[in-house]
Symmetry: C2
Subunit: 308 residues, 2 copies
């Protein structure tokens, strides 16, 4: 058995690995620590894109073809917002609003984000533990040829077209990991990093000093799943971003990025293998439930091998 | 011509008269001053039921058969709220949420309610002026055999079943009329009180000291349309409430309630006529656009007669 497993994750790609893990190990052994650097306030509502993607994916509510939001969503809200001259660059589905409105009301009532997400997960009968990386605000900012942009402006409004020169995580230095985060890492026999964007979705977590230190002091192996599939990114700006940051788009760059944190790397079967690191190869493209389970199993197997 | 007209109104019944008025006089001559005593915060969103009913009615978006909310509304939000264990005693439609979310964001950004409503009305091309009675919070509380209840708890959650002993307007004493309210009353050649519930929907406005004084000092006649049709209320708790307050359910009670403010009263054709007051009779049941225009015209004619 793998014992307690912690997975560090962003949104879409990461949620697929987490879904695979829920079929590979008992739910109560699994803790997902989730990026909140993408979180922002829109129309006065607090949005947590990566956490919500996880909630939708694990409850079977995700819109898989779209890559974000709810399956079977309706859009009356946006239609009326437009008629009232409201901002419409970020789409909020009718049912999706429930997460944001309830989160907003609870935050304003003084509840921490981690407690709110725990209640959401309980109501949707998700057996694993989902923890925001922090209850404190951390905001990912993109330095680009179009100036400094908050993450969602870069990602959604500008569709990742600006050329990125640097990425900052405002508030990370002074943010504390959410209750349970450090304890979960300390208890973990295996730590995984999901195939989320290392620079945009994983770095915000590594930018929290206490979280980084806990990872460095970990008890078991740390294995990442590379976000590259057949030499490029499945979705999202990973490959483009790596080029803009002057990095070769290959697994050596991914391994170098995580550096000494990394004990092993799961890579796509046809891709380059960096040296000095335990490697597992599988088809890392996750489309079906079987794909997700296979990649999760490959990561757990590699971790066991590293521990052995 | 009637000159500038001010109509003091609550929600459903009042909105029908206002709609009739928009067909009887030029839009730019018409100002509706609207009850905000029913306003409350739900799931962290500021709800203004009477103002929103007016916005929906005048823009042709109201659900007439239901008596509240939008025509063709969808309900994904409430469904997800229920799945998350959120409060579901007050229904918020998907499209309806746009008003509440945009209002909430603007209020938190420091904009006054009156400015927000003006912008909503402009976006929906409503030519008349719609003013909340106040930008300050005023809350209608119901003293009942089930204790003190905020208005919406009494009205929606308890469906008006508690027996009412008194009604309070918390904050009214110190609330200022919204910008434009006093000026509109001073400029009005005719002031109408819509057939809204006098105790629940009109009294909150009369409880604002400056608004009441302005009405007492008015230049033209003040005519009310009785909420009673064929000796009872069309909808809502008016008749039940009058009984609980120990009042005969008739137009003499309505006239006595408004007292010296009133110059004339439009009553239903078959109903009792109180003495000492100019009276117009018509069928005051407003179902069709023609009904609404007829009642509006009757009120304007009676006012002209009072002025003459």
């Amino acid at each position: 058995m793998s014992g307690p497993v912690v997975v560090i994750t962003g949104g879409v790609g990461g949620a697929k690995l987490v879904e695979g893990l829920t079929h590979a190990i008992p739910h109560e052994q699994l803790t997902a620590i989730v990026n909140t650097g993408d979180d922002f306030e829109h129309l006065g509502l607090p949005i947590s894109p990566d956490i919500d993607t996880l909630l939708y994916t694990l409850s079977g509510r995700a819109n898989a073809s779209q890559g974000w939001g709810r399956e079977g969503e309706s859009w009356s809200f946006m239609e009326v917002v437009r008629s009232l001259g409201g901002e419409d660059w970020f789409n909020l589905g009718d049912g999706d609003l429930a997460l944001h409105v309830l989160r907003g009301a609870a935050l304003r009532a003084g509840q921490p984000l981690s407690a709110i997400i725990r209640r959401f997960a309980l109501n949707w009968n998700l057996g694993l533990t989902i923890l925001p990386m922090s209850d404190d605000p951390v905001a990912t900012w993109i330095e680009s040829d179009q100036g400094a942009l908050p993450f969602q402006r870069y990602f959604v409004e500008h569709r990742c077209t600006p050329r990125v020169s640097a990425i900052r995580f405002v508030g990370a230095e002074s943010a504390s990991p959410a209750p349970g985060v450090i304890a979960a890492i300390e208890a973990a026999q295996t730590i995984l990093i999901a195939p989320s964007n290392p620079w945009l979705s994983v770095d915000p977590l590594l930018a929290l000093p206490a979280l980084r230190v806990a990872l460095e002091r970990r008890n078991g192996p740390l294995v990442a799943v590379s976000p590259l599939v057949a030499g490029t990114a499945v979705k999202g700006p990973t490959a483009k971003l790596m080029q803009e940051l002057g990095l070769p788009v290959n697994n050596a760059s991914i391994a170098a990025h995580y550096g000494s944190l990394l004990d092993g790397l799961v890579i796509h079967e046809s891709d380059d293998a960096p040296e000095g690191l335990a490697i597992a190869r599988t088809n890392t493209l996750m489309q079906t439930p079987q794909d997700k389970l296979r990649v999760a199993q490959a990561a757990l197997d590699l971790a066991r091998q590293c521990a052995g």
